[in-house]
């Protein structure tokens, strides 16, 4: 076998062997190598020493009232779980279309508000020729974007970084 200390990938074998997680077959091959390789012997002995040192470091016992304090906090701070109410909405297939429709209506209301300046109209023939493909493409893009967002929200709901 190639000397495990030669690269990081192989050194993982020595780490695993010190942690006693290597399978018997590979452990036997490695033991054989360690017996005749001073560099690996030194590496392995040092890693075993580290392992033993870390084993001797105990964490203090838990406070007796840990659970009581936790349940007090749970009861004291009722959490409004908006996700529970909103999540079903994101599962609705019609929601992206409804959201796109709302955006279009809001934009129309804004443009048609009293006092809004009327943009110069393009010749009707040009508008008829140019708008339908663009509108269709834009609407499809918006729907796709909202669907992506919906699936991201679902994925993020399991993310602990709240």
């Amino acid at each position: 076998m190639r000397c495990p200390t030669a690269n990081q990938g192989n050194a993982e074998l020595l780490l695993a062997h010190a942690a006693r997680t290597l399978d018997a077959e590979r452990a036997a091959v490695l033991e054989e190598h360690i017996a005749r390789c001073p560099a690996c012997r030194e590496y392995y002995a040092a890693q075993v020493a580290v392992w033993a040192a870390l084993d001797s470091w105990d964490a203090p016992p838990l406070s007796a009232d840990f659970d009581r304090r936790l349940y007090s906090r749970i009861e004291a701070a009722p959490h409004w779980d908006f996700g529970r109410f909103l999540r079903p909405l994101f599962g609705l297939r019609a929601l992206p279309v409804a959201a796109a429709a709302c955006l279009v209506l809001a934009a129309a209301a804004w443009l048609e508000r009293p006092g809004a300046s009327t943009p110069a109209r393009a010749p009707q023939s040009a508008a008829v020729q140019a708008l339908p493909p663009d509108q269709a493409e834009n609407t499809l893009q918006e729907m796709e974007m909202i669907q992506d967002f919906s699936s991201l929200v679902q994925a993020d709901s399991t993310d602990p970084r709240m």
């Binding site: 990081q8 050194a11 993982e12 780490l15 942690a19 590496y43 002995a45 040092a46 890693q47 075993v48 020493a49 580290v50 392992w51 033993a52 040192a53 870390l54 001797s56 470091w57 964490a59 203090p60 838990l62 406070s63 840990f66 659970d67 304090r69 936790l70 906090r73 749970i74 701070a77 959490h79 779980d81 996700g83 529970r84 999540r87 599962g91 709901s157 399991t158 602990p160 970084r161 709240m162």
Partner: protein, 201 residues
């Protein structure tokens, strides 16, 4: 169809992971299952956090926050990974934030002072074990400092690997990095630890 695939996947993970199954019951409103999860995982989580921040009071405070978050996010829980991976991801995230904010430092210095006071009292006590006790404490201090000197992510990786026997894939998910990055973190961390602790053999 995708929903069915997702449900099948969740079911498969839950079948492999009893904790995930318990968490799904918590999601359905079964608070007894939360108590079971708490009883099973509170010590490992507190011990992990203690070794991360090296202060028991702060570790317990952070562990409370971990379980509070688990409970609060029960309704959105999906068993996409092992429950312990998810749990340690929350714990690591909170620990790294606490370290970044320096929450543990004030208490840590107080803890060190307390330790030296106790040691000094025992030395003057004249009991035969006082010297051994002092040696033991010095040894523990050395180990604690060797761990504390590791960069935060290396420290978290080593603690999950050594004390919680987590696999590279689990550690990678908990640290939100690739498996090869975890191998690299562990390789460098153990290299530092060998340089600082190998003489203890």
């Amino acid at each position: 169809m995708p929903d069915r695939v997702h449900d099948n996947m969740a079911g498969a993970v839950a079948a492999l992971d009893y904790d995930a199954e318990l968490m799904l019951r918590v999601k359905d409103g079964d608070s007894a299952s939360f108590a079971v999860l708490l009883q099973k995982h509170r010590s490992p989580v507190v011990h992990f956090l203690y070794r991360m921040v090296q202060n028991q009071a702060v570790a317990e405070e952070l562990a409370q926050e971990v379980f509070l978050r688990v409970y609060r996010s029960r309704s959105s829980y999906e068993p996409a990974a092992k429950f312990t991976t998810w749990l340690f991801r929350i714990a690591t995230h909170l620990a790294l934030n606490a370290i970044r904010d320096g929450k543990h430092e004030r208490s840590q210095s107080r803890l060190d002072d307390e330790n030296s006071v106790v040691s000094a009292a025992q030395v003057t006590d004249g009991r035969p074990s006082a010297e051994q006790d002092l040696v033991h404490r010095a040894r523990m201090d050395e180990i604690r400092r060797a761990i504390a000197l590791l960069p935060d992510k290396q420290r978290a990786a080593v603690l999950m690997h050594k004390y919680h026997e987590m696999e590279y894939t689990q550690i990678a998910k908990a640290l939100n990095c690739s498996e090869s990055a975890v191998k690299s973190l562990l390789f460098r961390a153990y290299e530092s630890l060998r340089a600082r602790l190998a003489h203890m053999a």
